[in-house]
Amino acid sequence: MDGGTPLELTVPASEKAHTVSASVLEGTTVRAHPILRPVEAGFAAFLDGTQESRVVAYDRGVPLVIGTVAAIVRERRNRRLVTWAHERERSLYLPRNHVTPALWDESGPLALVDTCGADYGGPVGSGHPAALADRAYSVVRRRRDALETTLAERWCAEGAGPLFVDGSIAGSPRVGTATSVAGIVKSHRVLYVEEDAMQVVFGLRRGERSSMLRITPKWATVATWYLRIRDSAGHDPLWGLVRVEIAASHASTEKADEISSWILAEAAPLSLPDARWDTMVYGIRDCEETLRAV
């Protein structure tokens, strides 16, 4: 049995939408900064990861989840993207203390991941299958983040030029402090602005960014700002809005403008037909398509 609906489609978002206040790094209040410098390509590579997890069977009510995570760095050479590094893992995700030893020992060729391991939050309180599935999903996601971090760190060590990372870079102290990496966050379940600052962000026009903020969402403290890469007229206020993260130690107005201009350059070609095309740059779509293919 290797079917069923992917957990990515059934597990509800773990993070509730909320706001977090952040200190302003540029001036005293959040305001809009038009990007006046020429829009030009600056990123040398793009990093993204994917995951897929499915319940393939139940053992006495315990969901057996096969999860596949992958990450890829696609380097731009002569305006074409080629694979610089690619990692893929396929594992069986089991809560070891809920399954029989025999099952754990005879699980076949797949690598086993104990979803109740200490690294992943310890035992799941209830034996509810959905709770176990949620945990499995959460662990798969963390494995994916780890894989992405591995590639990002490798790029920091070996790669040449700035790396465009899909998502936050604060998950890794090494990546979060690297000068050659920018994380671009497309979803905004957490907004790091409140009240007036929020209105400034919502009012950003295409080619404008917000003032830089300092945040510590995970392990590393990073500088961040919001950037409108597409005109949101007629759409919701978060349409075409991305949040950019760079190492806090690297933050400066010039750097923020430069990286913003690089991101604006990536607005073409469009990532359609992906539903997230308003915030997804083509390099990231290419990563996803490549991962889907391989």
Binding site: A41, R80, P269, L272, G283
Partner: protein, 648 residues
């Protein structure tokens, strides 16, 4: 290094005859490129190798709809379109399978890497390895297959070009690109060079049907260094044909030969083509309108052919015995018969033939020498191709370009029939003969009434290969040529084709991309179909090393109209260069033009050692003119005596 990978999907699977592969964007693959697939999984212990030719190509990006590109440019096509990243793009090709090794079991093409075919691969893919074996090489180089740095000679199999396995060659293409004629000239040069010794001798008869196309085959033409390289690669000497003989009828006036190759500098191998009654009557039906000449007329013509021509013929109604050997004799015979019949009081038939039929046949046959003036002589003088003594590797060009249509038909019919007769008897002089006929649209049209010439072409196409009689034919529109003629051509060549022609059903077997390529072929490029090639192949051939018609016509302008004396002198000088115009003028001044032309023809035909004497002897001797002696004055009568009683 591989240049592509085989791909197959459920929607577009590979089959035993077709497969798909993708390549890098900068790969040298194009329509017509030959590739090799190396399978990864052994079949019965053998790793499969598949050879294919690219017949279709696709290119697309990950753009799902054109609208997305519109959105990407905000609806403004002139907006800055630079994107730092090019969209993912594919070059996807479809290839038709040429050959699979091993050939059994025949399976769908497996996944594998795709390589550009090497020279050896090309030979295997086209099954040329079967007839290029050193111990039995029957390969006739036809051109170069060129792709991605591969320059592979392509060979036809002589057994399938000249027989006996298959035979004949047909070439189609639009006019004006100098492809059809050039290709035939080049292939003949190659055939003469590489025709296997064990297959015997070969010669060619070319009918020049338009302009000066084939008039300078013995003169060197300009070729490029690249052409020279191809000649060297294919082992053919870049030189004009060494042995060429030209034949042309006289003009209607009869002074000179009716050809654009009439320049005196080229007269050494130009001979007249003239026939008399005997030669023509056998092919009378070529010239006679079938609606006009019915069974009764046919019966009389047969009677004349069998009982009158070349026989001593007597009949009570005739005033004298006749021996009919020329159209002139035939006219006298008809006149005598009609006089005899009409002077009788016993009915209006003669030997079951009604007088009206006799008149009709007389009218039609007598008319032939007028309609084919220059070719057919009233006097019966014959100058013909050297049937029985054809020479190996010799080209015989019959220039009918300036002849009337009737004369052209007669020439085709008689020459080809004679060739066939001699080949059947194995006494032509050569074992194989190539006959080249251009403008097949005209002579073997599919929708035209049945004619003798068409029947004859069909006969060659269907049965010629058993005799060694091979038809090389050309036309602009293959679809308009009788199917049995083109269908029996083992080898077909295609130059640049007209789009309308390509839209006809005969080309439906070609992929749209192949048809597009055919419509845009450059000079010197051909698509080749040959029995050994399971798919058409694109090749490049060198410019023929002979002077083309246009250059020849400029360098050797046509001779001006000659006087009777000049034309006689030009003809006879080929036999005796010491002759002078004054001598000719002295001889011919006393005779009428017909007599002079007859004497010239007879001399040319006899090729005597003593040209002067022979030519002079052809004229009837005439009594020299003398002034009459004055008549003696009459003797006056003696006056009558005065006393004469009878005087007045």
């Amino acid at each position: 290094m591989s240049l592509g990978r085989v791909v197959a999907t459920e929607r577009r699977p590979n089959t035993p005859h077709e497969f798909h592969f993708w390549t890098a964007l900068d790969s040298p693959v194009g329509i017509g490129t030959i590739v090799r697939v190396d399978g990864n999984t052994p079949v019965e212990g053998v790793l499969p190798h598949i050879y294919g030719i690219v017949v279709e190509g696709f290119s697309y990006t990950d753009l799902q709809t054109p609208l997305h590109d519109v959105l990407g440019h905000d609806g403004n096509p002139s907006s800055p379109g630079f994107a730092p990243t090019e969209r993912a793009e594919i070059r996807l090709y479809t290839a038709a399978v040429l050959r699979q090794i091993p050939e059994e079991p025949l399976q769908p093409v497996p996944m594998g890497q795709v390589f550009l075919a090497t020279n050896e691969d090309v030979a295997v893919a086209l099954r040329m390895d079967g007839y290029l074996r050193p111990e039995n090489n029957t390969g006739i180089p036809i051109g170069i297959y060129r792709a991605g740095g591969t320059d592979s000679p392509i060979y036809l199999d002589a057994d399938f070009l000249v027989g006996p396995e298959a035979a004949h060659l047909n070439i189609a293409g639009v006019s004006g690109l100098a492809t059809k004629t050039s290709a035939v000239e080049w292939i003949l040069a190659s055939l003469f060079t590489h025709f296997p010794a064990q297959k015997g001798s070969i010669a060619a008869v070319l009918f020049n049907v338009k302009g000066p196309d084939l008039c300078f085959l013995d003169q060197p033409g300009a070729i490029t260094d690249r052409d020279r390289e191809i000649y060297e690669q294919l082992g053919v000497d870049p030189a004009p044909f060494k042995k060429v003989e030209y034949f042309a009828p006289y003009t209607a006036k009869g002074h000179g030969l009716n050809t654009l190759r009439s320049n005196e500098a080229l007269a050494h191998n130009l001979q007249p083509l003239t026939w008399g009654l005997r030669e023509v009557l056998q092919f009378a039906e070529v010239l006679l309108n079938r609606d006009d000449v019915d069974a009764k007329a046919d019966a009389l013509i047969d009677f004349i052919k069998e009982r009158v021509i070349d026989r001593d013929f007597s009949d009570p109604v005739l005033s004298r015995p006749h021996r009919v050997q020329s159209f002139g004799d035939l006219e006298q015979w008809f006149r005598d018969v009609l006089n005899g019949v009409e002077s009788r009081s016993s009915g209006d038939t003669w030997r079951t033939h009604h007088v009206a039929t006799i008149r009709k046949v007389r009218n039609r046959l007598s008319n032939i020498s007028t309609r084919c003036a220059g070719l057919v002589t009233d006097e019966g003088v014959v100058s013909d191709l050297p049937f029985g003594s054809f020479e190996d590797r010799t080209v015989y060009v019959v220039d009918v370009a300036s002849s009337e249509e009737d004369a052209q038909d007669l020439i085709f019919a008689r020459i080809v029939s004679k060739l066939r007769e001699h080949l059947e008897r194995r006494d032509l002089g050569v074992k194989h003969l190539v006959v080249f006929v251009d403008e097949l649209n005209k002579y073997a049209a599919s929708d035209a009434p049945d004619t003798y010439v068409r029947r004859m072409l069909l006969d060659i196409a269907e049965r010629g290969r058993y005799l060694g009689l091979v038809l090389f034919s050309a036309q602009q529109f293959r679809s308009q040529v009788h199917r049995r003629v083109v269908g029996n051509s083992g080898t077909s060549l295609f130059g640049r084709m007209d789009a309308d022609e390509l839209a006809t059903p005969g080309y439906a077997v070609l992929s749209p991309a192949t048809r597009t390529k055919l419509a845009t072929l450059d000079k010197g490029q051909l698509m080749v179909r040959h029995p050994h090639f399971t798919q058409p192949i694109f090749i490049r051939f060198p410019r023929p090393a002979v002077m083309n018609g246009r250059d020849g016509a400029e360098r050797f302008p046509q001779a001006a109209d000659l006087s009777l004396e000049e034309s006689v002198l030009r003809s006879l000088r080929r036999l005796d260069p010491t002759l002078t115009l004054a001598w000719v003028e002295d001889i011919v001044s006393q005779y009428d033009e017909a007599e002079v032309l007859r004497a010239r023809s007879a001399t040319m035909l006899a090729r005597p050692g003593d040209v002067r004497g022979y030519f002079k002897a052809q004229f009837r001797s005439r009594v020299p003119q003398r002034t009459a002696a004055p008549r003696p004055a009459p003797v006056p009568l003696k006056p009558a005596p005065d006393d004469d009683p009878y005087g007045f």
